[in-house]
């Protein structure tokens, strides 16, 4: 099309402004800061610092943690996807929903729940000491074991999803052929089924590796003296060594973005489709008419383990504060913790903050995400591949780094912040959430746009509708389900966000996650648990709503 309308130029302008101001400029600030020496000198001091001493240890630890996480989550996720797909299991869709819970749980909630469950003063320790007369729990839950278990809990579902969707596409005929040629179960799995899963396993591995490198909450709370890149950045920043924090950030970002680039490359060369929807259908019931008791048992145990942290959180939220320290069996349940959260304004403000900030983040991502995906998918503007890559960049940038980059770039007034410093204000938080979640919305709305048959627009145009009316009456209703889902995902991610919040909040802009954290530091477990449960419920309701809209939408998925 040779016509480039004024509207398109304006829209492109908005997107470029946002990208330049809120993604590229902050990243540049980090890069610049990492080379800052005394005065305004250019210096490699921070990087020299990196190569020596404890930072090298942090790099090795982070990589090791990611490798272990990928391995553990991979084995767990693929195993459950496999038995789910090939075995007859009662209450399949119920279990399947349970298995996906960690995917939507805010990381901090998972961490806190594990803390309550397995800490030396936690529920299990308490049960053991109360009923078995032990003096102390026979285990310690911290350090590597704790972090890896929490990571597997949080990330295995990625593998589960990817592997399930790949299994749904596996060719049953091949499997039948393999059986009919006398190959056994395990041989068939290794020779026939597994090779078909490899693309999705690689995809899930890349994502998990990236997420694990950037993971903050678990190392932060359970890491103790073990050094990881993400937490080192935080401590460097808190200690005021911006330059060192920046050089660590550059390193972590380079690693993550490298994995992101691999993922994008891999996606463009292999077809990876995952649908976050429903329970896997099984064709295999043809093979096994009877319920497989071993697999069912495994799934029941695992499902229980999945919900156990949540149940713990619930339990902690309804027992009187501190009763665990005393003898909790005698004391009756109470809703005091919840009433406290809602009545005391000091407790209520974080709640309101989180919701307000998430709504603002949603609005920003909605504006930028929909405009840019429109330009990319519909207008096919020049440089659309570059634009798409830059828009997916925040997905590879750890939350800690995003927070640091915003602090470094907006602690002085800039063109992009209406010439005021927004560091320490309310606005920097929703901005950080919006940047972190921009890829989520952009990707889902690009998918939405691409699913629309181009002849629908052409039909509308030839029926007398202008481009604008076509957009409003045809395109908007058709992309609505995918954009709406993206929106809900952004909200979920924002409302429990902890990683960048912990660097950006100030006293008056505390969020739920920060409040949970500080309550735990003050040993107010009841309030922390009540917050956690409220947050968890909110997220689950939203997930449920989003599934409903997905199921109801016709045509576009």
């Amino acid at each position: 099309m040779k016509r480039t309308s004024l509207a398109n130029i304006l829209l492109t302008g908005i997107v470029i402004y946002f990208i330049a101001g809120y993604i590229l400029f902050p990243l540049y600030s980090v890069l610049k800061e990492s080379f800052a020496g005394d005065g305004n000198l250019f210096s490699f001091a921070a990087y020299k610092n990196l190569l020596t001493g404890s930072s090298a240890e942090a790099v090795i630890n982070s990589v090791l943690l990611s490798v272990l996480t990928v391995t553990g989550s991979g084995v767990t996720g693929v195993y459950f996807a496999y038995i789910f797909h090939y075995h007859k299991i009662p209450f399949k869709s119920f279990f399947s929903s349970l298995l996906l819970i960690p995917l939507a749980t805010p990381p901090l909630i998972g961490v806190v729940a594990f803390l309550f469950l397995l800490n030396e003063n936690g529920l299990i320790a308490k049960l053991l000491t109360t009923f078995f007369g032990m003096n102390a729990a026979p285990f310690r839950f911290d350090g590597w074991t704790a972090i890896i278990i929490i990571h597997i809990y949080s990330f295995y579902a990625m593998f589960y999803l990817f592997a399930s969707s790949a299994l749904k596409k596996t060719d049953m005929n091949l499997i039948d052929a393999s059986y009919s040629m006398g190959a056994g179960r395990s041989r068939t799995f290794i020779k026939v089924i597994f090779p078909q899963l490899i693309p999705s396993i690689i995809g899930a591995s890349l994502i998990t590796f990236m997420a694990s490198m950037a993971s903050f909450s678990a190392p932060f709370i359970f890491g103790g003296s073990i050094k990881f890149l993400s937490t080192e950045i935080y401590y460097a920043k808190i200690n005021g060594d911006n330059s060192f924090a920046s050089s660590l950030s550059v390193l972590l970002t380079v690693i993550s973005v490298f994995f992101l680039a691999m993922l994008r490359w891999y996606r463009s060369h292999k077809i990876l489709e995952v649908r976050y929807k429903g329970s896997p259908k099984t064709i295999s019931d043809l093979h096994n008419k009877s319920i497989n008791y071993f697999s069912t048992g495994m799934i029941m145990i695992f499902s229980f383990l999945i919900i156990l942290p949540v149940l713990t959180l619930l339990f902690m939220s309804i027992i009187p504060e501190g009763s665990l320290m005393r003898n909790f069996i005698i004391e009756p349940f109470t809703i005091a913790n919840y009433t406290k959260v809602f009545s005391d304004s000091q407790f209520f403000i974080p709640f309101r903050n989180s919701i307000e900030m998430s709504v603002i983040a949603v609005l920003i991502t909605l504006l930028i995400g929909v405009i840019s995906s429109y330009l990319i998918a519909k207008k096919k503007i020049r440089g659309k591949n570059l634009l798409e890559s830059i828009l997916s960049l925040p997905y590879g940038i750890p939350g800690t780094v995003i927070a640091l980059s915003l602090i470094l770039s907006f602690n002085t007034p800039t063109l992009f912040t209406a010439f005021v410093s927004i560091v320490g204000t309310f606005w920097i938080l929703p901005l950080a959430y919006a940047i972190r979640n921009l890829p989520v919305l952009t990707q889902s709305s690009i998918a939405g746009f691409n699913a629309i048959d181009p002849s629908l627009e052409e039909a509308s145009r030839t029926l007398g509708a202008s481009e604008f009316i076509t957009f409003r009456k045809i395109i908007v209703p058709l992309i609505f389900p995918s954009v709406f889902n993206g929106t809900l995902l952004v909200f979920i991610n924002s409302v429990g966000e902890f990683v960048s919040t912990v660097l950006l909040y100030s006293y008056s802009t505390k969020t739920i996650s920060v409040e949970i954290y500080s309550q735990i530091r003050m040993y107010n477990t009841g309030a922390a648990a009540a917050y956690g449960i409220l947050l968890f419920l909110m997220v689950m309701i939203i997930v449920y709503l989003s599934r409903r809209t997905m199921d109801k939408s016709v045509g576009v998925v």
Partner: protein, 332 residues
Amino acid sequence: MKNLVLNNISKSFGQTNVLSDISLEINQGEFFSIVGPSGCGKTTLLRIIAGLESADTGKIFIGGADSTDLPPQKRNVGIVFQNYALFPNMTVFENVAYGLSVKKTEKNIIHKKVRDVLEKVQMEHKHDKNISTLSGGEQQRVSLARVIVTEPDLILFDEPLSNLDYSLRLETRNELKRLQREAGITSVYVTHDQTEALALSDRIAVLNKGIIQQTGIPDDIYYNPENKFVADFIGHANLFGSQLCSELFQIEIDSDETLAVLPEELIPTDKSGNTSCKIIDVQFTGFSMEYSILFKDKIIRSLLPSKSLNNRFGIGEEIGLKIVSEKIRKVK
């Protein structure tokens, strides 16, 4: 009166020329078909007329006005798409009402007009149904109604019947012709099915490789093809070079000319003389009998009403051939 005039339209995508120097004049109320093989540029030409694609060179006049640079919504040209392109987020009624409502027509007028046109295409009873619940033929009728109701100056059809099965295609074809005649709307109909074009059209243009080969009334195109492509594509004519002509029929033509003989103008006779033609296949379709005849290495087709045949031939029989035509049709 000319309703659509195309002057020297050319279009290329990158290096490939898709349309070369297309000029056409289409009259008010005319049913005009463009036929040609797959990939010859038919869809591209329609899209240019509708304004969905811009021509590299040339001018387009719709209803006398220069429309070359008008956006699609200002052209008052309707399209019936091959895949119907019905809006999945709307009911049948809303689909048909769409064109009127974007033109800010009054509610009760929309209501009346949409009801009328739905009645015409016999889709009244399904006005509140979702698009996804309709059959292919029903979707087709709705998409036609959606265009007719806006009373366009011109309707463009892009192979609208190709997604329907055979019998439905015939039925819909007649229906479409009836509706077009009633509405009196100028129509440009694109198809690669020459019988469809012959049956429906007032006039036909034959397109090949982006070049118009011939324009004329169906009768003319069929009986007086101007070149080998048209003779073959429209009439499946047997083409004989000068050598074959003299050997088979003792007709002398120039060496750069070709004799085009329609299958129904060629009758197998008892073997006479020393030319040896052999029947290699016989197909009986009820009404007609089709012989495939081998002469040297050329396969010749002969198609005859089965009833009129007094003597039939079987596979392997040696025969003679006779042309029964008022005129000798020579093409370049």
